[in-house]
Symmetry: D4
Subunit: 249 residues, 8 copies
């Protein structure tokens, strides 16, 4: 509801074309469905261009199933992130049409193929083998959101030739996602090699002074490359979400 | 230098069109100028699309003047950030063509008007009066980088009607920059109102548990709005840099 | 024992109405019962207006049963918080009159209906589905303490229309409790919409930079809404306790 | 603007009593005044019951004067907090009717006497001499907001008899504010002595492991007294604001 | 070996009373026994007045048995702290003379009764029921080290009358140990009531902003009572060790 | 006032030897004097055995003078810590009998010689030259409190022979105070060389990862020497206070 | 590929000795093998002098086997660190030639004896029994990398005579590794006794204020011994790696 | 004094060649000189191979002069670090032979030329212009300690070509020192390019999430390059000290 739409509505009421009760309803009715435990946002695709995404941790399989069914009933696709395999099994038992990607811990209810809507390619670059699940989440989400994705793995900066050998992949991307734990230096180096936005994802990979991703997070926030922005630790989903928005521009 | 260019060069050498000495030089010569204290990157505009930007703190007026002259001599524009007024005076004394914006603490050496190259508008939204310098930096940089900018100030979430009164400004932007200190909640609310990327800038505004911007930083990193990425505390420049890159896509 | 009561006692002794031994006892006798492991406060209802509340973690089922029996023997009601279901089973086996609310993790020994003593309504607002257990604790405690309670769930600020659709609920409350994890922005927005005290409860919901509730805690402490005070992370009980005190004023 | 008011407006439009242009304006016009640097909330007293309060740090004397004049022009009183004496001098030069309390660092523009609207007394208790400025801010704000205030100073818990000698003051209050730095234990002891809400204000008093108020803040958040809520470090204003709200109930 | 002893030895050598080989050995032989995994200090009782104390976590039952046997073979008593019950069972199987106190998690190999060597009483005061294991460790160690001990439990400062009812116990002690988690205010209040040294033990009891004992630790370090010193979180042993040293003076 | 004294008083009242008014006064009169800004504890020497000690930072010269005069009028000595030289000058101007030790930043009002009441010697050991002010504060306070003091300076553990050359000084002390910044290892080594209590004082000496004394503080709290307790960063006063208490036992 | 090699290659092409295709390949071909999940660096021994070392945590047994086989196929030795015993069993099942050291948690595929290439001895000194696994990792890695190693265990600074009894071992080493948890003071004392580089390894041994190794880490970083550098918490491998590099110089 | 020397001494005493008094003295006399405020280590050059180095902050000019004179009187050279220019002026006034390097903040008393004793070259690499003072300190110390030094400045990883253009400098060094603030990624990249030890120096350069060098420090401690060890923030001296030790091996 914006000023323009409000004016039209009021003119309709003034002309008698629209009755007061339904106009009141239009202005006041909420764009969500209340379930027992959640207020599900059914207008989200309209407002944001992507389906509602459910973050699984802290929710029971039953709650997730209920939200997915509500979204499905409203004609929307549903994507669930961070789904452990045992929870996924129970959900897929109840919703056989759901599709589970164990590597990326993603659960999907919708058409198996997503049409490409992104204008270019999203490159996902990860520093080490242990960063793989976060990178996989980013790749999986970006593909479900209609993007072509290039994945470049295990190219940490301590063996810089491995990264430099793939600069073409970096430079042909429209948006980049750099995933790294430990000292989190990858986005700085990648950022220096391209003139596109780089979304940095710190991971909780590492031990001791890595402090569960804090070292990487601080490193990325203080990156000397100016084209880097940062999302939360392990938030491959968030990086892919923003990359998809940018890739549609 | 990429694989394709290397191949051409080698073919030229094979044909005898290019002699070994100059080919060696082409492959090996560095794209920078060494001054006494800095290795100035003179190919940056070529690689990144924007001029080299100098971060003033920790540098003497003399060092800044030297870098600006080196860039100018290489035909590049120069932008200096976080320039305190006394340093600016000394630089402008030496470089009368330089232009200083005290509000944004920006110093500029280049044409007074920058042609618009961004495809849409960048909206800069700030929460409180005290966040003004950071927002001003973001606005100033974005304009110098060729963008139309809308500024919306003092619309913190504790008076949500002030923000909601300007949703049209928010929704007509192609990229948004949300600047806030204290609890840093503004990007979450803004993010929920638009379907465009939002770059969040925590500021060091606040006291006590604000911890110099840490409260806002953590709040933005854990934003429940999925379209938010974050830059360093008070980094209005970085936000504008990335917003400009996105706005050129 | 206050100055006035002391004077009466001394006058009684002076008149010979009260003998020295019993006066000594009255002044010196402690308002508690020592069990093997605890000094149970049996005068608490007298002093504070609510029954003693037991925090279960770190206590064995046997210790909890013992405290509940001591309170019961002293004619007091007993409320136990954070009781995991297995511990609750053992306690209910020993004390069949006890009532367990699994959602709120509350155990209660007392009359099943609590008369309404609060003068108005307490509104409990929670940001996300995962904040539900903390909100449920707040609701459960407030009801056991004799209040009418309105619960508004899943109204996080990134979908601000969900919250704005329920402003009437907010504005009709006498005291409000706002429960949120992650960036913890909900109390700021709620605080801006009402002119009543808002008690903010940060939750440990979130990951990475949420740091187990620290991001939300800092956000709430630095809220730009002036009518917000804060309790410990996940402390739904404390919020309800203070809200009940306020609602009796 | 709530649902009820909207319906009335629509009915007026339907009846032809209200024309479309002015109805549009009523729904859409913002309850604030935009100045050069701030969006001043002129409906705040209506919504919150207290005048707009300006936090001085980070604002120039000129900006503060401008906000105070805008509020004054809108018929509102103005209270400014944390005003250093030199800034106060400049403001009082421009606004001779303004009144400055150096101890509490408060600046006031409004009638010299505030009628008592609070139903009971607010007790402000402080632990040490160095906590005095924060306690003074709480006292000053609570008085300007129409409350009777009792002040009890220098009653830290390491000399518990000093506090116990004044329990009558504590027990006769309707709301209490406990101000303490260092280990911040005062609110716990005070909370145990009364059955009213206690608002705890940690102060930045102390050195070393006091960490600028963090020790006191953590101590207050983890208080074993259930009737304690907490505001930000040194936030005497916020405590008085909430205490005033409670005292009006 | 000190200067005096060295001189005697050299004089013995000069007189021919002591041969070079054995003098060399005396000066150079180490006061410890090397086992496979540890350098066991067999002169400790001589130097420190108490037996070697073994900290169990991180050691296998076999390693603990080996150290205890080495100490026993050297005629020393052995005390092991933080022994979980399953480990204790295995050790007691191998060393039937060992005695296990499950409450205090202490294992003892030596005479069942320790003669009283402390000159006065050590008072151990604990704030809450959950602090009991730490208090029990302090009590158990102090008794094994030859002290009379008074234990006062569950006297947290939020019910200050519980503590004040036992001031005689406090004042009759020669040294005091105050054990508390959460806000850790107990030592400040106890410290103000006595003129003896108070050793504060923060415990990891609490949740959220208690940060595993950090809130209590900081509170104790910044105590406004001057007679308080602090040991590590949950270090009931260390407190009892120092209290025993003081009580022997 | 304890139980025994209360009984006597009541018996006096019962016998008619004591009238009600004065008995009431005796029980209720507070052992302190209220000044404008402080509640000065005039019974402290009675309860604690040492004069009231005033912590100067955060107090004006006028406030300090007022407290010193109040104490002096009550026949007590006064010690003020952390007095900067300019503040000291102003105080000594008003109170010519006061004595200032610039090295230790201590101000004293009382007899110039303090009779020795401590039973043994207190050894103060400091690691580096920069720790000198904190060590000087400990030495000065311990002397004013009636102790013989040995000072051993600049014996940090990285040149262990410097410390070992003075083991006789260490071993002849009855209580030890070990002062160190940076890694704070001195108390661990000292603790291992003696069988007396060691009070560790971390100092804010150091840079970078010293974090203003946090590194030393943590090191001392986790010392592997069991006879070490810790006071706040730079708290030479507190260490001397407790050492004096112990030395009187 | 360096400037010299490039010139030779170009001259070969100019002479016609090298054809363009193979020269392009030489310049561009990457010195690694891409497996499904990793980019294995097969030139590492060439560049760094030691085999690739695999960090096991976060990798499945299958991934580790695959990397080991890739390295083996490239004629390289393989060392895997932090291998838990169950993972080791599965790997040794698949690769019977692999050798597992449970104490050091190291897995090795290569010749059973490594020829000594280090010029001197590496001394590994550890503070307590619980630091043993980290010390064992350092010893194991240093031996596999071709060094003579002396191990000195359980020589913490609180019993300084244990360390001083072995100064000859310390002084005969060419490089030293000092391993310690808790207050981490060992490297400072060791550093003061030798004139060789000391690599400090903080361990996560300890509890409470040890903060999982942070106390030791900070202590080592702020060591007053100038010959100390530091590696990550528990990083026995890294210390041995650098010590081996130094020992080859 | 070691076992061998002790035996010789004892044999001399047994033979009557050495009298008891002087033998006692030899064993017991301390290798230091006590001044008023410091215990100056005059045997340090003997034990460590380098002169005593004085850290200026926290010491007065007079104290520094006194230490330098004591060292000079003992025939030793003196190096003072972190000397601000005003302090240097006063020292040079008193000691005209002293030499001050303002860039590196180093003060030197000794021969103007130091003979080269290091076997190879030490490379000092710094990331940005603002890291210059720390790099200069490292360069200055390494030269005073007898090393050839190569300096490579302003080669941060976000412009990786600047660093790669100088790999020959990196690879020809025997030891490397990498200096960087902000995200501190330089040592990881440098470490991957060489097979020599790299000493990483985090600097306090940066703002916001750089936290005064903490981001760089954590990044370096968690570097994925195995040949990296770390010193304290801004500790250019320490890095040069260790590099010099290594370069002498």
């Amino acid at each position: 509801m914006d000023r323009h739409r409000l004016k039209e509505l009021l003119e309709g009421v003034a002309r008698g074309d629209i009755d007061v009760a339904s106009a009141t309803e239009s202005v006041a009715s909420p764009p969500f469905v209340d379930t027992d435990h959640a207020r599900v946002d059914t207008h989200r695709a309209l407002r944001h261009g992507f389906p509602e995404v459910v973050f699984a941790p802290g929710k029971t399989a039953e709650q997730i199933i209920s939200v997915m069914q509500t979204l499905h009933a409203a004609g929307q696709q549903a994507l669930v992130t961070r789904v452990e395999s045992d929870v996924a099994s129970r959900i897929c038992g109840a919703l056989p049409a759901a599709d589970y990607d164990a590597d990326a811990r993603l659960l999907w209810l919708g058409p198996s193929e997503t049409p490409i809507e992104g204008k270019g390619t999203i490159a996902v670059i990860s520093a080490g083998t242990a960063d793989r699940p976060v990178a996989a989440e980013a790749v999986g989400v970006a593909r479900r959101f209609g993007n072509k994705v290039d994945l470049l793995q295990d190219v940490g900066v301590a063996g810089i030739h491995r990264l430099l050998a793939s600069t073409e992949v970096l430079r042909s991307a429209r948006v980049l996602i750099a995933v790294a734990g430990m000292e989190g230096a990858l986005p700085s180096v990648v950022g220096g090699l391209v003139d596109k936005p780089v979304i940095a994802v710190p991971t909780s990979v590492g031990y001791g002074a890595a402090f569960g991703g804090v070292a990487a997070l601080l490193g990325m926030l203080t990156s000397c490359a100016s084209n880097v922005t940062v999302v939360n630790i392990d938030n491959g989903f968030g990086a892919a979400y923003v990359a998809s928005l940018i890739n549609r521009l």
